[in-house]
Structure formats: structure tokens, C-alpha cells
């Protein structure tokens, strides 16, 4: 409940605590720290198509480790398509394909086994979708259990830890055997986050995770994102610019399938370099 009380008013302050990333993601996001350190997740010249139609064109973007990168832009600008390229979920759509490179710790994910790679790059979807036939416990355990882990004590431990990390443990600890679909929308979304965390990914992709939730549930998820970035690299697609401003360190602005501008969130929202970014942020179109 205390998370409820410290709602949006406090959040900007939390943001100020961590505004400047160590490697300033200025001018050229494609290259900065390659030799110095693990660059996290990088997209290089990514094109994605549905059939013959390109949905995103030539996206080069670095998403630094343990930071939150927000992707904003009007509907249909390719935000979701882009984020789905980062864990190869784009290719499961019939007729869809992708070109270019996505590097995780410097290795091209197209050379990895997609199933194994997705355990490192978890995903949370727009609409919370617990597995309908499974209990809360089974939902969180699903990723591990279905990959062959049957040590119950260990599973219990991981399920509890994941639910705690997703800030939902207190609400569900007495009803772990109840169906996950019986929870409220906001709880379902945190359950889905717990489910994604249980397989111990390094990156968490969030595709408009709050767009189906009310403001209170949204506040909880945002709180959670700020907690999670200590351990995870987070990429979040959002329609809500205030949300991007509240939770992210870096913001990328997409328009009609292209990356228009990327910079620290503060810079994007205070002095964007591109006129189109400014127009979008100030609500002059979109």
C-alpha cells in the first residue's frame, strides 16, 4: 500500500537521482563504448518486414546495460515491431522477416538458438496474459518447469523470489494455487513480469506494459521498473510520454519506421535536436 501513497509526485525525484548514464549516450549511439565495456543490447541497421512491406528501416540503437531505454512514437511507427526484433519474436509472425544485426553482449542473436536466446531476453506484453489453465505458482514456474526443472524446493524458492521482485508476492502468497486469470489486470501484469523474471533473463523487453491498466496499477509497474533496472537491462515501448519521462534513462523517438532521435531522457524532453521530436513531445501532432 505504501507504494500507492508515493505516487507520481515523488517519481520525478527518483528519476533525478539517476539521470546521467555513465556512458553518455550522446551524438552517435551506434558506437560509443564497444571496446571499453559490454555494450549491452545493440541493434545495428535493423530492417523488419511484414511480407514485402518494411515496418522499420535502418534502426541503429544501443540499449545500455542496467538502464531503461524508452521507445516512444505515434501508433504504427514500428516501436512494437522493433522491440519484437530484439528477442526474435518478430519472426514468429507468418510472413515476417528481419535484416540487420542485433547484438547481445556483442554476439549476434541471429546466430543463437532462438529458444535459448529468449531465456536471456524476456518479454512482457501489452495485454497481460497468464496461462489460462495454470495456477499463479505454475504460471511463474512454467518457464523453468517446462524446460525440465523439477526440483520442487528450488522452484518454490525461485517462484517466491520472482513474485517478490515483481512486487506482487504480498498480494498472492496465500493464493498461489488459484488460477492466474482470476487476478486483476494490474496484478496479472505483475504476474507476467514475475513469470518473465523467473527464467532469469538479463534483458526485459516491455511492450506497452501499462496500456491496459488503470493509473494505480500503472504507478505500481513504474515503481517496479525503477527497482528492476538495478539488475536488468530494460527496454520499454510506451505511448505515454510522461511514463517515458518518469522511468527511463534514455529515450528513442520513432516515426514512420525510422529512428529520428535518441538521447538521454532529459535531453529528449527538454531540448530535442530534431524538430519532429519536439513537435511530437509538445503534442503538436501524433
Amino acid at each position: 500500500m505504501d507504494t500507492l501513497l508515493k505516487s507520481p509526485i515523488i517519481r520525478p525525484k527518483v528519476h533525478e537521482e539517476s539521470p546521467a548514464p555513465e556512458t553518455p549516450p550522446s551524438k552517435d549511439m551506434g558506437k560509443p563504448a564497444e571496446k571499453i565495456q559490454d555494450p549491452g543490447l545493440q541493434a545495428k541497421k535493423v530492417f523488419a518486414y511484414f511480407g514485402a512491406k518494411p515496418a522499420i528501416r535502418n534502426i541503429t540503437l544501443t540499449m545500455p546495460l542496467q538502464q531503461v531505454t524508452a521507445i516512444i512514437g505515434p501508433s504504427g511507427c514500428g516501436k512494437s515491431t522493433f522491440i519484437r526484433c530484439l528477442n526474435r519474436m518478430h519472426e514468429v509472425v507468418p510472413g515476417a522477416r528481419m535484416e540487420g544485426q542485433v547484438l547481445l553482449h556483442g554476439k549476434d542473436i541471429m546466430d543463437m538458438d532462438p529458444v535459448a536466446m529468449r531465456r536471456q531476453v524476456g518479454m512482457v506484453f501489452q495485454k497481460p496474459q497468464p496461462f489460462p489453465t495454470m495456477s499463479i505458482f505454475d504460471n511463474v514456474a512454467a518457464g523453468l518447469r517446462l524446460n525440465g526443472m523439477h526440483n520442487y524446493a528450488r522452484l518454490e524458492e525461485i517462484v517466491e523470489k520472482s513474485l517478490r521482485n515483481a512486487a506482487i508476492w504480498e498480494e498472492v502468497k496465500d493464493s498461489l494455487s488459484k488460477p492466474g486469470t482470476g487476478l486483476s489486470g494490474g496484478q496479472q501484469q505483475r504476474l507476467c513480469i514475475a513469470r518473465a523474471l523467473a527464467v532469469n533473463p538479463q534483458v526485459l523487453l516491455m511492450d506497452e506494459p501499462c496500456s491496459a491498466l488503470d493509473p494505480i496499477a500503472t504507478a505500481k509497474i513504474e515503481e517496479l521498473i525503477l527497482q528492476l533496472k538495478k539488475n536488468y537491462t530494460i527496454v520499454i515501448v510506451t505511448h505515454n510520454m510522461q511514463q517515458a519521462a518518469r522511468v527511463s534513462d534514455n529515450t528513442a523517438f520513432f516515426l514512420m519506421g525510422e529512428l529520428i532521435e535518441v538521447d538521454s531522457t532529459q535531453t529528449i524532453f527538454t531540448m530535442p535536436k530534431d524538430k519532429r521530436t519536439e513537435d511530437y513531445i509538445t503534442g503538436r501532432f501524433g
Partner: protein, 281 residues
């Protein structure tokens, strides 16, 4: 006529016509149910379920062998046809949604579905009865299985398609291999639907007559094993109904009633399973 009155008139007319047609559909169903019940109920007795058929003129005969025969034939069809049909449906829904093989399988299933059932009988006759040189339960089961496969393929596909994409994607995004996503997440989610489909499909083939005429053939006695000709309710109805004997006509009505109740009970059971199903949101 003002526009308002015109609109109301057409609304009333459309409602009346569609309601009449809906009522007509229901009336036909109740007429059939009622007619078969009225004619069949008087000849239904304990003997009908426990005794073998008797020669013409001798009273007290039953159709125990045909009831058991129908159950055996449907069981065999289920064993032979369901695995193929269900797995084919899984292929269509999960792998072949948009590819060329999927297109051809779907097309073939629809075509076979539309082929008259007697043609299926001839086919089963050619591949089973001719090589074995005699009619058999096996041949009847094969004929029914051939009927069953395409409808099972399509019903499985339809019920699996009701599982939201998001369920599959959530599971894939957890790093689960696709076959586990299908067997441990998608199929359990669609399970009640699949079970309903299976029951409806089986109740449909249980009433097939034509494919059995020259495969299972018929038998006035008990049929042992799977290699002998066997009696079945639909074929008995056919044989008895076209016979010149009043006594046999009454027995045919009773058999029709039993078959109808079997189908009705299966259908109601299927609806109940479906209604209690997990709400797939």
C-alpha cells in the same frame, strides 16, 4: 410513407422473417424427435437391449449385437482416426497456418468432407475388404476412420485457433521450444474445446450407414474379434426399414430412437463440457 414508418416496417419485416425461419428449424428438429419417439418407444423393451434379432414372425427379438457393434465400430474409428485427425489439426493451427502444405491439407480435408459417404465406403471396401476377401469390423472401422479424419482435422484446428495468439507468444518469449508451447500450454488451454469436438465428431460418424454397408456388412449374431462382419444400428435400421415386415419396421423405429438418443446424449454432454470450460479471454 415517412422515413420513420418505412424503417419500422422493414425492421418488423426482417424480424418476422428471420424468427419464422428460426422457428421452422426448431420445428423440424422437434418433429423428427417426436415422430421417432412416438414410433420407437412402443417397441423399446428390455429385450431390445439384451437379445439378438429373431427371425421374421418370432417376437421378443432385440438388437443387442447392433448396439455393441456400433460401439465397437466407433471405438475402432476413434483409435484409427482421432490421432491422425487431431495431430493433423495441430499441424494446421500451429505450423501450417499460412504455408503451402497447410493450404493443401485444409483444402483436402474440406473436399473429403464433402465427398458422399458411400464413396468412402467403396474406398474402404477396395483397400480392406478386397485384399482380405471378406467383410469385417476392421473394414467398417477403417471406413468410419476415413470419415472421421477430415472432420477431426478441421474441428481441432478451429478449437486451437480460439487460443489467443498472446498465449503462444508469452510462452515462446519465455524461451520454451515450440512443441512444449503446443503440448503444455496451447492444448491444455483448448482442451475442453478439443474434447467437445471429439464427442461431436464421434456422434456424427456413429450415425453413418453407407460406409458400413459393404465393409462391416451386418451380422444377425454376435461378432467375435475384429475380423468378422458386424452388425450396427444404422445398417440394421436400413435393413429393417426396407423389409416388407411390419414387425421389423417397428424394430427399425426403436433402433432409430436408440441411435438418436445416443447422438443427443453425446451432444448434450459436449455442450456441458463446453459451458463449464475455462473462459479463454
Amino acid at each position: 410513407m415517412s422515413y420513420d414508418r418505412y424503417r419500422k416496417f422493414y425492421n418488423a419485416a426482417a424480424f418476422t422473417v428471420t424468427a419464422l425461419c428460426a422457428g421452422l428449424t426448431l420445428a423440424v428438429l422437434f418433429f423428427v424427435l417426436g415422430y421417432v419417439t412416438v414410433h420407437g418407444i412402443s417397441s423399446l423393451s428390455w429385450n431390445f437391449f439384451t437379445r439378438l434379432p429373431t427371425p421374421v414372425g418370432e417376437s421378443g427379438g432385440g438388437m443387442a449385437n447392433a448396439i455393441v457393434g456400433t460401439i465397437k465400430l466407433v471405438f475402432l474409428a476413434a483409435v484409427l482416426g482421432l490421432p491422425v485427425g487431431i495431430m493433423g489439426g495441430v499441424y494446421l493451427a500451429e505450423y501450417g497456418a499460412a504455408n503451402r502444405l497447410g493450404f493443401f491439407v485444409r483444402f483436402a480435408a474440406d473436399v473429403i468432407n464433402g465427398v458422399p459417404s458411400i464413396v468412402m465406403g467403396i474406398f474402404a471396401y477396395t483397400i480392406v475388404v478386397l485384399p482380405m476377401k471378406h467383410f469385417s469390423t476392421l473394414a467398417g472401422g477403417v471406413a468410419l476412420a476415413i470419415m472421421l479424419i477430415p472432420i477431426a482435422v478441421r474441428s481441432t484446428e478451429e478449437f486451437l485457433k480460439l487460443v489467443p495468439r498472446a498465449v503462444r507468444e508469452s510462452a515462446l518469449a519465455l524461451g520454451l521450444p515450440q512443441w512444449k508451447v503446443i503440448t503444455m500450454v496451447v492444448i491444455p488451454t483448448a482442451f475442453r474445446g478439443l474434447l467437445t469436438g471429439v464427442l461431436l465428431n464421434l456422434s456424427r460418424v456413429s450415425g453413418e450407414t453407407a460406409p458400413l454397408l459393404f465393409t462391416a456388412f451386418g451380422n444377425r449374431y454376435w461378432s467375435s474379434g475384429w475380423m468378422n462382419p458386424i452388425s450396427s444400428l444404422p445398417v440394421m435400421i436400413f435393413t429393417y426399414a426396407v423389409s416388407p415386415y411390419e414387425d421389423w419396421h417397428r424394430q427399425a423405429w426403436a433402433a432409430a430412437l436408440v441411435l438418436m438418443i445416443l447422438v443427443l446424449v453425446t451432444n448434450i454432454g459436449a455442450r456441458l463440457i463446453m459451458r463449464r470450460g475455462v473462459a479463454v479471454s
